[in-house]
Symmetry: C2
Subunit: 137 residues, 2 copies
DNA sequence: GAAATGTCTGCAACCCGGTTGCAAAGTCAG
DNA sequence: CTGACTTTGCAACCGGGTTGCAGACATTTC
């Protein structure tokens, strides 16, 4: 699986340093999107800014996307295979107000309404909030 | 128009203090949603926390809604007449990446996809990003 | 009207996520 | 091995949001 990780990194032209392997590995394992803080806690002993820059690099290469779920911190999740983070590749996200986890709803692509001509759409962020299946009694 | 303002406040059971009149007035005048910081700057000499608490009060009474546009600060805009901020009352928002203004797209109500039964939907925040008509050359 | 009660405001300080400058450590080609 | 470049760790900073507390203000009660 190490090679699996490296493959993904190299596919996006990212040099596979140990740090990057670890971060990507964590993001792939987790079912929900992770915040910088959460990543930091997962491996006690790595600096915040290093993880931060790793995430920046990943984003710049469309390996992960950041989710603005309004919880106060950004969450990160691995992009799907050929994602370029353009509007037609985006999906809904779900923030659970109970467990505070944010999930990618990959099966629910977003649809942006037809706005008046003079609006130029570049990106979007659609978040649904509520109680997730795990938390629903 | 003072009485106009007071009417709106009292309609939502908010005691009309001078501070609240001023803040509501500003929010009504502005075509785009305002951040705490922007409000603060508009009247030099009022404390941030006072405005902050005013906004909290307004929100609690469904007079305004907060918009998480991912710009780093929350933006606030006056709700429409009978808004209760429930999902079926919500609309899209548009963040201009050039002027950084955020607009309520009142004519574009959001539609939340039918999620698997076990998801309980409580709220939503749909933001479209791009270039606004004013900024489009 | 004066005192007592409750609400609103200003100030200062804090918390926390995100970001940056800089120097040390690591990588790699020549 | 040497020098050029990249990655990492540390420390400090910034800015939005939030809170405790005390003084100002308004409202009620006597
Ligand atoms: Mn996602
Ligand atoms: Mn709005
Ligand atoms: Zn949950
Ligand atoms: Zn604009």
């Amino acid at each position: 699986m190490q090679s699996e990780i490296n493959k993904k990194l190299e596919a996006k032209q990212i040099k596979p340093t140990p740090m990057r392997q670890l971060v990507l590995n964590l993001l792939l394992q987790e079912p929900s999107a992770l915040s910088l803080r959460e990543l930091e806690e997962k491996f006690d002993k790595v600096d915040k800014s290093t993880i931060y820059r790793t995430l920046q690099t990943f984003q710049a290469h469309y390996l992960i996307h950041a989710i603005e779920d309004g919880s106060g911190s950004l969450r990160y999740a691995v992009c799907e295979e050929n994602c370029t983070c353009e509007p037609h590749h985006l999906h809904f996200h779900f923030l659970c107000l109970k467990c505070q986890h944010t999930y990618c709803l990959h099966d629910y692509p977003i649809q942006i309404p037809q706005l008046p001509e003079k609006y130029q759409v570049i990106s979007a962020n659609f978040v649904i909030k509520g109680i997730c299946p795990n938390c629903k009694a």
